[in-house]
């Protein structure tokens, strides 16, 4: 597997040390890491889930709007950050992988741009709305 750019390596190290759920996407839209607080919401340890490629993501994580209707993929904050290159924020519901329980979360995604204008991926911070 190819080495990640240093910006994502440092981002992962930071994510491993904070208590806010974080997930990290690479430039191809693959989910390459989420931290322990994110595991608590998503319902599976990252070491068990492993990296998830862009095509599988929508199938693995079922998300809906607060009204229960599906959110078009292109409107998901991480997809907006990756494809449109700007921060995005949204409140939605996501199904935990272990119990299937639907949790209401707020998610903010930010594109990661490295030195020299390299698009490296996106980082998403999220939290359960009730905890706000």
């Amino acid at each position: 597997m190819a080495q990640q750019p240093i910006e994502l390596i440092l981002l992962k190290q930071w994510a491993e040390h904070i208590a806010i759920p974080v997930w990290i996407m690479d430039a191809d839209g693959n989910l390459v890491f989420y931290n322990e607080p994110a595991e608590a919401i998503l319902g599976r340890r990252f070491d068990e889930a492993g990296e998830i490629n862009a095509e599988e993501l929508a199938d693995r994580f079922v998300t809906t709007g607060l009204d229960g209707h599906p959110v078009p993929t292109k409107e998901l904050p991480v997809v907006v950050a990756l494809t449109e290159g700007h921060p995005a924020h949204r409140e939605l519901r996501i199904q935990a992988l272990d119990t299937g329980q639907s949790r209401q979360i707020e998610i903010t995604a930010i594109p990661i741009r490295g030195q020299g204008g390299r698009d490296l991926g996106a980082v998403a911070l999220f939290w359960e709305s009730a905890q706000r």
Binding site: M1, A2, Q3, Q4, P5, I6, E7, I9, L10, K12, Q13, W14, E16, H17, G114, Q115, G116, R118
Partner: protein
Amino acid sequence: MRVELWGTRGSVAAAGPDTVEYGGDTSCVQVTGPEGEEILLDAGSGIRLVSGSVAGAGRVDILLTHLHMDHIQGLGFFPPLFDPGVETHIWGPSSTTLSLTERLSRYLSPPLFPVRLRELPNTEVHDLSPGGFEIGSVTVTADFVCHPGTTLGYRLDTELAAVAYLPDHEPALGVERFPDAPEWTSGNTLMMHADLLIHDTQYTDSEYVERVGWGHSSFTHATMLAERAGVRRLVSFHHDPGHTDADLNRLNREVTEAEHSFEFVPGRVGTVFQLA
């Protein structure tokens, strides 16, 4: 490819009777390519004495890992930069705000230095982002590595050999179980299966604990990386200015006596490697 160590000390030059064997000059490594390419890795105080060794070369390339003083201080004391007959190229990390020329000019201008960078007669300055480029028959790969400020590591490949140079590198920063998986380890691609890895070994294990975040590795970190990357030889480098020859002999002996998958070579000034 021929590789010679001209400056092996880290942080600040440390001349004196206790640093004669390993050298007191700061980072500079000369790489001579198969077609006579003259490439200098960093321009610490060790570069001062290289000029005689590159005499006659029509072109010299200086690859800077970063702009900490121990890596650029020798620039003003390298005669080929002032010789209009020598084409010189200075390569270094890009920044989001200032060009490499602007950042180097902070040092190469009064009041810190009497000569301005723009007054050098035949010098081109190149901002580098991660990627590859050619210097004659040598392929240079640059990538950002973990060290305070924007810092590059380099890999130089020819048809027959590869040298990796990571003099200031703290891949253990923030990693709970070092080393992490290869894809999450800073510098891994640069080091992979290199014939020669010149790597930061500034600290002992106990010193590292007191200096986490300062941007450097311990001997243990460097040996673990070398093992993981499957290199042929590891050279200790960027010696702490507080480490005497006696200290380094003891530390290097500990590594030499342990069993490794690579050959360990203590980084002494003047050491020459002739790679196939």
